[in-house]
Symmetry: C2
Subunit: 350 residues, 2 copies
């Protein structure tokens, strides 16, 4: 008896379609011959779609996506500064809208320095941590506005909204993850300045910590956390943080572990009420689109996170292992996007 | 005819007093025999004062400080987690209060990798840039609050306030600085998410740029900026950014240029309506206080910024040159705080 997983695929813009082709190839390799069949629907969403139709994400799109079990996304966004996209804001109207509408309250971003990967640090040490970034609150809620806009008397505000409901659930997820890893959790915020937003995070971490006496908890201000990410990244295991600090820390973490060509992420609704979405951390990089220059590894590692999320842990493990082997055996000659995808898929099938 | 500069000195807590002793020593060396006499008043402010008197910064303190020409500050803040300081918030009540009350709208933070300084990057390249961080607005305004505090229904908000008045003046300062340096300016924000707060920054940079056609302007999202700070810090010259992003970027910049033991800063009121304040970027580090382990270089470089601000450019230059010489000739043997201060002061006098 075979299980069917309905997968929504959003290749998106720029290098998105290229890396998704390779990600799907690896997904096929990892699941072929197994009990699970992936029934895929492609969604044409992103800057290209906006330029064609003026639409970013319609209710019809959203309803259709919602009826799937999971989402695989490449990257969305047009050429920076394209005047035709001036009022589009694909990021808010598409990417963030999906995260918010589908209640992706856990934005899971593992950072690992694979052996053989060159990075910017002279002595990186052993880097292997996961950032659990809140995905539906904080400064990302879009609760801003301005008065006297465009005049010398403009005032532009932006409000970070943090609820006990929203913070507690992601903190619980992070503690559970810490239990399964090294039992070490670091809260990152800026409690000395953002007294209220920081206060609710501190309180809920302290409260949930009581239920996890075996998890060692520490706290860092976000500015100090960036220092440690370059001087002693090995000190981290699970980091829990808000939406904005998580955005910043994970790009920096991607850089110190050899570039965001390798950084995968999951936008997860742990309750299963909505489909979770898996995507590389990198953007659409229109400057190198269509040139077979993009590294599909981040997209492929996102497939591993997807498989894990679906309970297909062996398959996920095979994908990760294939990526590790591929990285360890990378020569110095540059490879095309397809060549990297083929090589990893072959290792998965081997 | 000699000029008198009334200098308020706030040694503060932890390593503050130690590094300020050396900073004053170098100030003396740089100005002795000259036309300018520094008339100093010491202010006992910080965690120690709070523990003694329950006071953080009284109106009397503030009035007295306001009557000075400039301020030299070591570091303030008690032992993290000290229960007696739980409700003190020295950061907001003292440091940020000074910055806000004295309208320090330019928080100037140079980052330079001096030859011979070991840093975390394998190939740092030539690092020499200045962050112009806004100092009186953004998420730092303290415009936050919570309802149902401490309950499962708590909502905690924090509002970033950005005015055209406040953004334009710091942007103008940054452009003028860029004119005097390499004529390159990078705005860092998160305009794709913080649409309103980011929008006012983008608009005013674009507007002021019209008056500086020879300055090359670019823009980076804060997450991307952290990547470049570790992969290509040499690309930066002048960065202008908001209060929170500036806080994060300058700690990271301090780390990549060899540690915040070297990072100096000026909290500047360019209009001269209020005294400007010069301080190392590092904190009070109570764990190593009184042990002569602190590097006073950041405090000494802050003296150089102070001298520059007072128009004593030659003296400022002599301090910087002495620091560069000292760094270039550092042996491998550890030196005490006093030894470093003595060595730099001797070079200034030589
Ligand atoms: C594109 C942008 C809205 C997004 C974010 O800020 O979350 C991106 O930077 C990310 O990290 O996925
Ligand atoms: C101590 C803290 C309030 C302060 C800040 O956030 O500005 C510090 O980190 C700094 O950068 O000077």
């Amino acid at each position: 008896m075979s299980r069917v997983v309905k997968l929504a695929v959003i290749p998106g813009d720029g290098i998105g379609p290229e890396v998704i082709t390779e990600a799907e190839k690896v997904l096929d390799a990892a699941t072929s011959g197994g009990d699970v069949r992936f029934e895929r629907t492609r969604f044409s969403l992103g800057a290209a779609r906006f330029l064609e139709t003026g639409e970013t994400l319609t209710d019809t799109d959203l309803d259709a996506i919602r009826s799937h079990d999971a989402i695989l996304l490449g990257a969305v966004g047009g050429v920076p500064g394209d005047p035709r996209l001036k009022d589009a804001n694909i990021e808010r109207g598409l990417l963030l809208k999906l995260r918010f509408e589908l209640d992706h309250y856990v934005n899971l971003r593992p950072s690992k320095l694979y052996p053989g990967v060159p990075g910017p640090l002279a002595a990186p040490g052993d880097i292997d941590f996961v950032v659990v970034r809140e995905g539906t609150e904080g400064p990302y809620v879009g609760n801003g506005g301005s008065i006297r806009t465009g005049t010398p008397h403009e005032v532009a505000n932006e409000t970070s909204v943090n609820t006990a409901f929203g913070v507690e659930r992601v903190v619980r997820y992070a503690f559970e993850l810490a239990e399964r890893r090294s039992k070490k959790l670091t809260l990152v915020h800026k409690t000395n300045v953002l007294v209220h937003a920081g206060g609710i995070w501190k309180r809920l971490v302290d409260e949930v910590a009581l239920e996890h006496p075996d998890v060692a908890v520490d706290y860092l201000h976000v500015d100090a956390a960036t220092i440690f990410l370059v001087t002693n990244p090995g000190r981290f295991d699970v980091i829990v943080t808000d939406n904005l600090f998580g955005d910043i820390l994970t790009d920096l973490a991607g850089a110190v572990t050899g570039g965001i060509g390798l950084a995968a992420s999951g936008n997860i609704n742990p309750d299963g009420a909505f489909p979770s979405m898996f995507e590389p951390v990198h953007g659409s990089a229109p400057d190198i689109a269509g040139q077979q220059k993009a590294d599909p590894t981040a997209a492929i590692l996102s497939v591993s996170l997807l498989l894990d999320h679906l309970g297909l842990h062996d398959e996920a493990q095979r994908v990760t292992a294939a990526v590790e082997d591929d990285i360890a055996n990378r020569g110095t000659a540059p490879r095309t996007t397809t060549e990297i995808g083929d090589a990893i898929a072959a290792r998965v099938s081997a």
